[in-house]
């Protein structure tokens, strides 16, 4: 697979939140929500970002849209000619022209839509803000967008409460598409939906991508969903990306013990393959008080002395495959990813 032209390049992104105590608001420490994350999203590429709650995946997305001002690092957005602008450092008012290139779809279809606005207002607002069109033309655009996400244009004057969870998620998608963005950040877009509706939304996101070649940054904790929609996956653990690879290889041939453990934690959909493996003991590390050396070492079953002192760097293990582990490529993870039946 050829590497596509980059659209967004995140370089050494850091987002540290200060912990303040006492009436003077003294800074007593930092929560390292994102600590040295580098990730490239190509034109028309669907990249998954997976990890457990609190690993910093949503913080990454908020840094990209500059809801947070990153502590350090670069977020380079390339235009069609290949010149880049650094979204991490430009002043807030200068963000405006770039915001329309990057849109978001949120997890909760109930709180992400204003209950006092009709669909016409919700979906039309971005286009009005950028003075793209108005009046009848705006209405036609909204109708067209509603159709493209599988809703009926005649429902345009209804309010969000009249719609089910899946339909609301479609409204959120229509709003994200309104400005014809280049990158769509999907932050857990299906995890609040019922199984039967989840499949509809996943199919819709895929069809839209196939038709318009949007780039997606797809954030999820559900590996099977990521496997279904993404071409490439980055696995995050406590603020750091621990492994990136093509979707097909990351699940069949993981090189980081954490990825292998995540994979084997997914219950199999086959009652004859009964196994209740416990791939990882303990809890996710506290990002305010990260372990020394490799952040994963307290839960890793292959831990050695070196892991406790030395922070591993991201290193290539195969073409387009990188892992942040001292022993990447040397460990036999097959026992972890396909555990023997136990129960």
């Amino acid at each position: 697979m050829p590497t596509p032209k980059p659209l967004l390049e995140i370089k050494n992104l850091k987002m540290h939140f200060p912990i303040k105590r006492g009436i003077m608001g003294r800074t007593v420490g930092h929560i390292k929500a994102v600590d040295d994350v580098s990730l490239t999203i190509g034109e028309g590429e669907v990249v998954g970002l997976v990890g457990e709650s609190g690993c910093g995946k949503s913080t990454v997305s908020r840094c990209i849209v500059r809801a947070y001002k990153p502590t350090a690092g670069q977020i380079l957005l390339y235009d069609a000619e290949g010149s880049a602008v650094d979204l991490a450092s430009i002043p807030e008012p200068d963000m405006l022209p770039y915001r329309r290139d990057i849109q978001m779809i949120f997890q909760d279809p109930f709180s992400s839509l204003n209950p006092r606005m009709t669909l016409r207002q919700i979906i039309g607002e971005p286009m009005r803000n950028y003075q793209i069109c108005r009046g009848k033309e705006l209405e036609d655009r909204v109708a067209h967008l509603l159709e493209s996400v599988g809703l009926r244009p005649e429902h345009m004057s209804r309010y969000p409460h009249a719609f089910s969870g899946g339909q609301r998620q479609r409204i959120g998608i229509a709003r994200a598409l309104a400005l014809n963005p280049r990158l769509i950040i999907c932050d857990e877009p299906v995890s609040a939906l019922d199984v039967s509706v989840q499949a509809q939304i996943l199919n819709l996101l895929r069809d839209l991508q196939a038709e318009f070649r949007y780039s997606y940054l797809f954030i999820a904790h559900d590996l099977s969903v990521v496997d279904y929609i993404c071409e490439r996956v980055a696995v995050m653990y406590v603020g750091k990306i621990v492994e990136t690879a093509d979707t097909a290889t990351i699940f069949s041939d993981p090189r980081h013990p954490y990825t292998a453990a995540l994979r084997s934690a997914i219950p199999k959909l086959n009652p004859r393959l009964r196994q209740l493996p416990v791939p990882l003991e303990g809890d996710v590390a506290d990002p305010a008080n990260t372990p020394s050396g490799c952040v994963f070492h307290p839960r890793c079953r292959f831990v050695e002395d070196r892991c406790r002192h030395e922070t591993p760097a991201m290193k290539p293990t195969a073409p387009r495959h990188h892992a942040r582990c001292h022993f990447a490529g040397e460990l036999n993870l097959s026992g972890l990813s396909e555990p023997a039946a136990t129960a």
């Binding site: 457990e52 509706v197 099977s224 219950p267 493996p277 416990v278 791939p279 809890d283």
Partner: protein
């Protein structure tokens, strides 16, 4: 195996201002001793209300309007639905014989009492004894659920524990009186996959140790496949299919069960293929479809039949029942034969 709990024709209605919601309409099933029964369904199918009805903790304005829940204890058969809702009999059973764990452990514990005090309270309430004895039992049960450093945890407040730890504490509290039946309402839904794996393993091990039955309520079929002995699939307040777990995954009969199974993305399988989704969305419980409740979304829909006739529960095999007219001999000549091969 002897039966432990038998639910018969249970109906729970909610009288709201807009009308009566039939949250549970005519549900019957049985749990044997030491068995794991899973109730599977999507949001609004009535699975949680049904579970609460067993313990008589249906939130207002919900009301059990009909049906019987028989609980077998010491050769005796107690009809839980006939007991007084706040009376001493049901309170002696609730938490002791039948315990429940919830999706949100944060909402289960009181935020202003320590974990230790709350588990002690349950033990003293049901078994008597003093604080010292109860504390010893609490430490023991916390140890069994794999809680690190129980002697420190008992002095902690709920907000000081992580989600997975709190889930363990809740399981410990539920098991503190050695229940015969544990009702687990989406116990792993709010957890990450690795924590979910820990909790499922823990429940499995404790079940073996205590020989208790588990009523497992979930929307996640992959968890069901790994955990359940029997499965009841619910849709809009009705059980639409009921069978053992192997048959459910290998030979599902009801179109809803089949569609649910097909709509789940799986790692490695079918990458690049479209998921088969179920058309439409779950109907508003106030506006139930006529005839079969699933007919507007069903891909085996028979016009003039499914939208008119309420399907009966059809026995397919000894322990396998489905609520669908495709299997009803009464209509066999009217159903187009092509639909069976889907």
């Amino acid at each position: 195996m002897e039966p432990l709990l038998e639910v018969k024709n249970l109906k729970v209605h909610f009288a709201t201002e807009e009308g009566v919601i039939e949250a549970v309409r005519d549900v019957s099933f049985e749990i044997k001793r030491g068995e794991t029964v899973a109730i599977v369904g999507e949001s609004g199918c009535g699975k949680s209300v049904m579970a609460r009805a067993i313990l008589r903790i249906v939130p207002a304005p919900g009301r059990i309007v009909e049906g019987k829940v028989s609980y077998y204890r010491d050769e005796r058969n107690i009809n839980l639905t006939a007991l007084e809702e706040k009376g001493p009999e049901i309170r002696a059973i609730r938490g002791a014989d039948i315990a429940m764990i919830f999706q949100e452990p944060m909402a289960t514990f009181s935020p202003v009492h320590t974990i230790g005090n709350q588990i002690n309270e349950a033990i003293i309430l049901h078994q008597g004894g003093d604080q010292a004895g109860a504390t010893a039992q609490t430490l023991d049960i916390l140890n069994r659920v794999g809680m690190p450093r129980p002697s420190r945890i008992i002095h902690r407040y709920p907000h000081q524990l992580s989600g997975g730890m709190l889930q363990r504490a809740m399981i410990a509290m539920a098991l503190s009186c050695r229940p015969q039946l544990l009702i687990a309402d989406e116990p792993t839904t709010a957890l990450d996959v690795t924590t979910q794996a820990q909790i499922l393993r823990l429940l499995y091990d404790l079940q073996q140790e205590f020989n208790m039955a588990i009523l497992f309520i979930t929307h996640d079929l992959s968890v069901v496949s790994q955990f359940a002995d029997r499965v009841e699939v619910m849709y809009l307040g009705e059980v639409v299919e009921s069978t053992d777990v192997i048959t459910l995954f290998e030979d599902p009969k009801h179109p809803y069960t089949r569609a649910l199974l097909n709509s789940i993305p799986q790692t490695g399988a079918g990458r690049g293929q479209r998921l088969q989704s179920i058309a439409g969305s779950i109907p508003n419980p106030l506006h139930r479809p006529s005839g079969c409740l699933f007919h507007p979304r069903c891909d085996s829909f028979q016009p003039g039949l499914c939208d008119l006739v309420s399907p009966k529960e059809i026995t397919i095999d000894r322990d396998h029942r489905a609520r669908c007219i495709l299997y009803d001999e009464q209509y066999a000549d009217k159903v187009s034969s092509a639909t069976f091969d889907q």
